[in-house]
Structures are given as C-alpha cells and as structure tokens.
Symmetry: C2
Subunit: 110 residues, 2 copies
C-alpha cells in the first residue's frame, strides 16, 4: 500500500528533508484539495480494511469482481484519485456491503 508517489529524487542524507519530501513534494493536489484527497485516502483504506477483514488477497478479491490484482492495488493506493461509484459498488457487492452515499452540509466556519 504505497503512501508516496514521489519518484526520481536526488539523494540526500538530511532526514528532515526526506520527511518533507515525503509529505509535500510532488503532491500539489493534496495541498489544493485537501478535503477530497483525504476522502480518497479514506476510501482506499476502507477497501483495504474490508478486504483484510474478509481475509482475501488482492488476487482473490480481484477474481470475485472480475478484474486483476493490480486493479485492486490501485484502488488501495491512498493517492489514487480515480475512484468511481461503479467500482466501489463492485467491491462492496463482493464483500456483502452496500455503498451508501449522502450529501451532508458543510459548515463554512466564520
């Protein structure tokens, strides 16, 4: 489950800089749409959680919904931003769940 998309970084021995890179480098989307990014993370984690709870490997779950392990892996990547309702429903269906969608008001604090 990759937490990091950064690639081809030049070498460094500064631990602080390494952490900084891990958190912020190459992730403008996270800074701009923090809320959405966090929601995607939550979805990814939830999928992983459900699969683990069902004691299934990525390959096993993949077969259940008619796809491959690499697809499941992609869904469980917290940086993946392409989650679709269709796929969530397929996952849910295979794990005896249903996808509940609600619109909840946002309190735009003063």
């Amino acid at each position: 489950m990759p937490d990091n998309k950064a690639k081809t970084l030049k070498p460094t021995s500064d631990a602080v800089e390494i952490l900084h890179r891990r958190l912020y480098e190459g992730k403008p989307a996270r800074l701009k749409n923090l809320e959405e990014a966090r929601a995607n993370e939550e979805i990814a984690r939830k999928i992983q959680e459900l699969r683990s709870a069902a004691a299934l490997t990525q390959t096993q779950l993949a077969k259940l919904i008619g796809t491959t392990a690499s697809v499941i892996c992609r869904l469980e990547d917290v940086d993946y931003e392409g989650h679709s309702l269709a796929m969530l429903r397929r996952i849910a269906g295979a794990l005896n769940q249903r996808v509940e969608i609600r619109f909840v008001p946002i309190r735009r604090s003063a």
Copy 2:
C-alpha cells in the same frame, strides 16, 4: 416495504413503487440490479432536491460547476446509470455539501 403478491395490488401514490411494480414485479432476473437502480434514482432525486433547495436553475448550477444544463439534466434523470464520484463531488461542492461514502453491511437474503 410491504410484501407483494402477484395479484390484487393495493393502491399507491408512491411513484417509486409504481415504477418498481411496472419494471420488476415478477421478474426475479432483474432483482439483481434493483438495488443499484434504486440507488441511482436516489442520487438523481437528491441532486434535484439540493438544486431546488438552493433555488437554482439547471443552467445556473451548471455554470457553478463549469458545465452545461444538459449535463445537469442528465444527472437528474432517474434512469441515468453513469453517476461518478467526481461529478457528485462537484455538485456537492457547489451547494456547500460534501459527499459522504460509507460501506454498510448488507443482509443477503432471497
């Protein structure tokens, strides 16, 4: 939801139930998709409801999220099956809402 007999349906004014009867009564082959179809209906109605509550025309909402009225109309069509998380979030964002997604266990029965 009351159980349904093959004959002597009692009267109803609920449009959803009428549609349900017309499309799915006595057709177990389609029951598999019923849940998803109803979920899509719910989404469509919710979007329409939110837009109305905000006192916006389809054109106005469309401009808010950077698209056209025909797209909004499509989203509000209860038979539309192409709902995406991305679009729901755009709608929600324009109407000061957020999209909450939950996986809830379902009791699988006949």
